[in-house]
Symmetry: C2
Subunit: 209 residues, 2 copies
């Protein structure tokens, strides 16, 4: 449709602009409450300790909860409220970038609105798209929402520490994922206790060997 074409062309402009400034960029999509913000907070902690300058565009339907968490971590941040829409689009990102000093950023994170459906049709111009789900949503998230996993580069199954409490076998999720995207990876993390974050950074190309 025209909307998707227009989005794609703006996303392309964003990608060019970020590359021109030498910024590595990552979009986090995923289920509402799956741990996107906490994962990004863990990434910022580790990157900051290595002198890497981080910025975040925090997308939410309303409120500024996530934005405040990123500011508290010492990252530059912009809050974007989508109101009635359940997904960010490239147009929102273009405006958000105007509020950031691109010369003082090495890594940009974009946290999309929690939703496993619409965001997948609206790429935002980042180098990499990562989908975060968690054990506590049940073991059926991948098979119920195959499209967003096919449109992403990497997946994360977070809250691995809680799997036993919700009778979820992570291997069921992993095998569903392999069936849909056999050539891509799904990583297990526990963002609360910082487990699996190093492997994630490696897959994101943020870990100098």
């Amino acid at each position: 449709t025209d909307i998707l074409k227009a989005n794609l062309s703006i996303a392309h402009e964003i990608s060019e602009e970020l590359k021109a400034h030498g910024i590595k960029s990552y979009e986090f999509m995923g289920a509402v409450g799956s741990g996107k913000t906490l994962i990004i907070e863990r990434l910022i902690e580790r990157l900051k300790a290595k002198g890497v300058r981080c910025a975040v565009i925090a997308g939410d339907v309303s409120g500024n909860d996530d934005y405040l968490r990123f500011i508290a971590r010492g990252a530059q941040a912009v809050n974007v409220n989508t109101g009635k829409e359940c997904h960010l689009d490239a147009h929102y990102i273009q405006h958000a970038l105007e509020h950031l000093d691109l010369h003082s950023i090495d890594v940009l994170f974009i946290e999309n609105v929690g939703n496993l459906v619409c965001p997948s049709d609206f790429p935002l111009g980042a180098d990499m798209r990562i989908v975060v789900i968690s054990t506590t949503e049940g073991d059926d998230m991948v098979r119920k929402h195959p499209v967003i996993f096919a449109n992403a580069d990497l997946a994360v199954l977070n809250k691995k520490d809680l799997a036993g409490y919700v009778d979820v076998d992570p291997n069921v999720v992993i095998s569903d994922y392999k069936r849909i995207v056999p050539h891509k990876k799904i990583l297990l993390t526990d963002a609360k206790h910082g487990e699996g974050i190093d492997e994630l950074m490696k897959e994101m190309g943020l870990m100098r060997e």
Copy 2:
């Protein structure tokens, strides 16, 4: 908009039809993986034991996982896949009702697609709209999505057994809820262990005193 007006008039027709058959009807909306299906399963268990005949319309983006769970509980059920859309609308429900024998149903549950944004604009004709969130999504679900709580009759905060593991204080959620809808109730449940389900049935008018 015209879409919302058309939806409202179909929802009205559905409501008339269900009332004409003496069917009590409940729509469950909520976050993806919050426990909607498990709560409905618990309700079916209790109602079936009292000879109440239950039916479910299971809405999901794709797949029939929830539908199969309802069939396994002995309820009549219809599976509705919304594909690219992240919410059910009254048109889907009108077609789904054609596949049910309305003369053999006392209580109808409709499980909407897991999403805290779009479903709120599309009432489906049920007597009562209930929003289910869970502790594991974090304590900010209500303040981030005020509209769906304002458009519902009742809210449920499920997975109360897991609150400690995700550093969530249920009272924060309850006080956010009271700020948005002071005159409505939010109930705490643990659907896995069947706790809080009796209070829920009472609020739904399903518990003969």
